[in-house]
């Protein structure tokens, strides 16, 4: 099997997992796919360094999480630059790209609105809690799998998940009090 075929097989096998994981962080399908592409390119280029200490999927999840968090940091920077430019009345298309896409017609409006509220709350909780709950709820990973990805213990993951739910609940209460 040549390199091209091997690359295709890798992508075929894991693309949905990686896109879905990235979606758990950025909540936009187009952005999630862009990040997922970066993940596969990096995975392929750094494959010689992969020592097989973890499973391939665990390794891919780690790259996906790092790339997603990098993208979120860049988005925040763009947002601040955009706000600054707005103050100076300079238009910027890239800021407009930060707007959420229109809801999928097939989704119920209420489901969509609740998901959006949830995503906003997710964006406010600490990073480690966000990683744990994203892997648990978006990817249905077990505690052990999450512990492998995060390079921590299962009890630590359990604690993170519990605290994440408390944090989410608090942010959602604040959100619903103010609307």
């Amino acid at each position: 099997m040549n390199n091209r075929e091997a690359f295709r097989q890798l992508v075929d096998q894991y693309k949905d997992k990686v896109v879905n994981t990235c979606y758990g962080f950025v909540h936009q399908k187009e952005d999630a796919e862009d990040i997922a592409q970066d993940v596969f390119i990096e995975a392929w280029l750094s494959y010689p360094k992969f020592r097989g200490e973890s499973s391939l999927s665990t390794w891919l999840y780690r790259i996906a999480i790092n790339k997603s968090l990098d993208a979120l940091r860049k988005q925040k920077t763009k947002k601040y630059i955009g706000l600054f430019k707005n103050l100076l009345h300079i238009s910027d298309e890239s800021v407009d790209n930060l707007k959420h896409t229109e809801p999928n017609p097939l989704q119920q409006i209420e489901q969509y609105e609740r998901e959006q509220a949830l995503y906003k709350a997710l964006d406010k909780i600490p990073v480690n809690q966000k990683i744990a709950i994203t892997l648990s709820k978006f990817e249905d990973l077990s505690m052990k799998e999450i512990a492998d990805v995060m390079e921590t213990s299962e009890s630590a993951v359990e604690s993170l998940l519990s605290r994440a739910k408390v944090s989410l609940r608090k942010h959602l209460e604040d959100y619903y009090k103010n609307i």
Partner: protein
């Protein structure tokens, strides 16, 4: 009551966490990825070629500088040799001159 209202909304939204919509990659994901990967490989290859050419050019410059320096040293060494010999002759003429009437060597 208002408190129950947002508690209720919060609980309903928390339940969404257990029924999140999963996304799948688009049909053209692999095609776009391969195109992007090929472009990156091409850029990498161009960068490697350019760096290799630069290395060869630097190597040639170093060799040329060494050749010039060696040539200058050798040429300069020969002329120094001539200067040294003429100085010895001059000195010997000055310090080891014999008078026309005497057999002794006069040191001045």
């Amino acid at each position: 009551m208002k408190t129950n209202n947002y508690n209720e909304e919060t609980e309903k939204t928390m339940q969404v966490l257990d029924a999140l919509t999963k996304v799948k990659s688009s049909p053209f994901f692999i095609t776009r990825l391969e195109a992007r990967f090929d472009k990156k490989q091409e850029a990498n290859n161009y960068s490697i070629q350019w760096k290799t050419s630069l290395k060869y050019a630097f190597f040639i410059v170093i060799i040329a500088l060494n050749v010039i320096a060696s040539y200058s040293y050798i040429k300069g060494g020969n002329s120094k040799k001539e200067t040294r010999e003429s100085m010895i002759q001059e000195l010997s003429g000055t310090y080891f001159s014999t008078s026309s009437n005497s057999n002794s060597i006069t040191f001045q």
